[in-house]
Symmetry: C2
Subunit: 224 residues, 2 copies
DNA sequence: CGACGGATTGAGGTTTATCAACGGGTGTGG
DNA sequence: CCACACCCGTTGATAAACCTCAATCCGTCG
């Protein structure tokens, strides 16, 4: 990353912000004049229907951008919730437009990020639409594994896992009870072990095969 | 749109291209050096698993961009199939990067489009994850209605509808048989009528209510 | 005429959801 | 300190939604 770009991004940054686990960072329909970068912790984008049904759209990990949609539209169409205590880098939304003028290459990177986010949601849609319950869970864990690994957050096939079963079911379009029972079967088969907010993958190969995981598409990532 | 921008986009355009219904415009894994704009006709983005399961990720209508992901990544991670005969405007992918340098406002618009596309997929994910079969079908038709209307393609509550039941099931994560039976019930309830590759919505209010449709978020659209 | 894509239908089975209840841990107020 | 509420996980029973298999029908096209 060129110095000029680093300078620009730094000047762009307004500060940092903390949120506690369980609180909302972005609320659907509430205009927000900031854009965030998830510096530390986990979050998730979700949408809630009036009758209470909830769908988690994607899980956000360190390095991910929060609020791109709100930046482009007048108000966000989904909420973002902190899954753990979280620290964010805050940027001025209004100055976002400058970025395209003054640092076109960064503008390009932002588009790249948007396309990347969409690809993630595409994958989730495939999972929810066409995989069985066991496959969905396997897929979720494997894909998280592969996103966490380059961040150095996987040690010895295991990683922190702040999602409750309630979150898992809402991410995968399953009921809570069925999620629980399916999880249990996977644990009995020794494919995974979950305890204490931590996952250990017992058998990478089998789990990937079960998941029908295709994701070896490593994409070089622009830093912003 | 400023004249300069129009000029730029025009200079950028390489030509037009036709595809016949049923053919693939973009194939997953096959690098493509072009970006397209869907000028006329319908298409869909889809992903196919090795065992034949297919998920349609989104339906593309006139004005939509095709190949943004392939432009950002080295190869596309989904295919695009023409649902009708289709005419495309073709742009040079290599010159795509120029756009950010020379017309930053257009770069911004491209990001906007990417965010918009993602919002569409978000909606589909919610639908597939949390709506019942009947709700999914209702949602699909209502959302298509609202996307077609501003294009002037809705007349008297009815519009062309090139999707087969096979497509519907793959878009909604349902089996073909169940799709058929659910469709029939909706037709018997007079909520919709489908015949001859055309849909007529019999009762907008009831259909929207069934769909739990929330989408009155009209977004002003940049032209590119 | 036969082949094929698309729609349709019935039967039967599997997956997944819903309901209801319980257990363990944690925090909080009395 | 205890009682209570609450969150999270667990479990069994039952019901509903959805899937698969198998067949048929119709229209189009070669």
């Amino acid at each position: 990353m060129a110095d000029k770009e680093v300078d620009f991004v730094s000047g762009f940054k307004v500060g940092e912000k903390l949120y506690r686990a369980g609180t909302d960072i972005v609320e659907e329909g509430l205009a927000d004049h900031h854009i965030y970068t998830l510096y530390k912790g986990w979050a998730c984008r979700y949408h809630m229907m009036e009758d209470g049904r909830r769908q988690i759209l994607s899980v956000l990990l360190p390095g991910d951008l929060i609020g791109l949609q709100s930046a482009m539209f007048t108000e966000p169409e989904h909420s973002v919730s902190a899954l753990t205590n979280v620290t964010l880098c805050v940027f001025e939304r209004n100055r976002f437009f400058e970025l395209y003028e003054k640092q076109p290459s960064l503008g390009f990177d932002v588009t790249w990020i948007a396309a990347h986010e969409e690809a993630l949601v595409d994958d989730n849609l495939l999972t929810v639409g066409r995989r069985s319950a066991a496959e969905r869970i396997a897929y979720l864990l494997v894909s998280l594994h592969d996103r966490l690994e380059p961040l150095g957050l996987v040690v010895d096939d295991s990683f922190d896992f702040p999602l409750t079963q309630y979150h898992i079911s809402d991410a995968l379009g399953l009921s809570l009870v069925h999620t629980n029972k399916t999880l249990k079967k996977l644990m009995q088969r020794q494919l995974i072990a979950i305890s204490d907010r931590r996952v250990r993958i017992g058998d990478q190969l089998q789990l990937r095969e079960l998941a029908k995981y295709e994701g070896n598409k490593r994409r070089p990532r622009p830093l912003i």
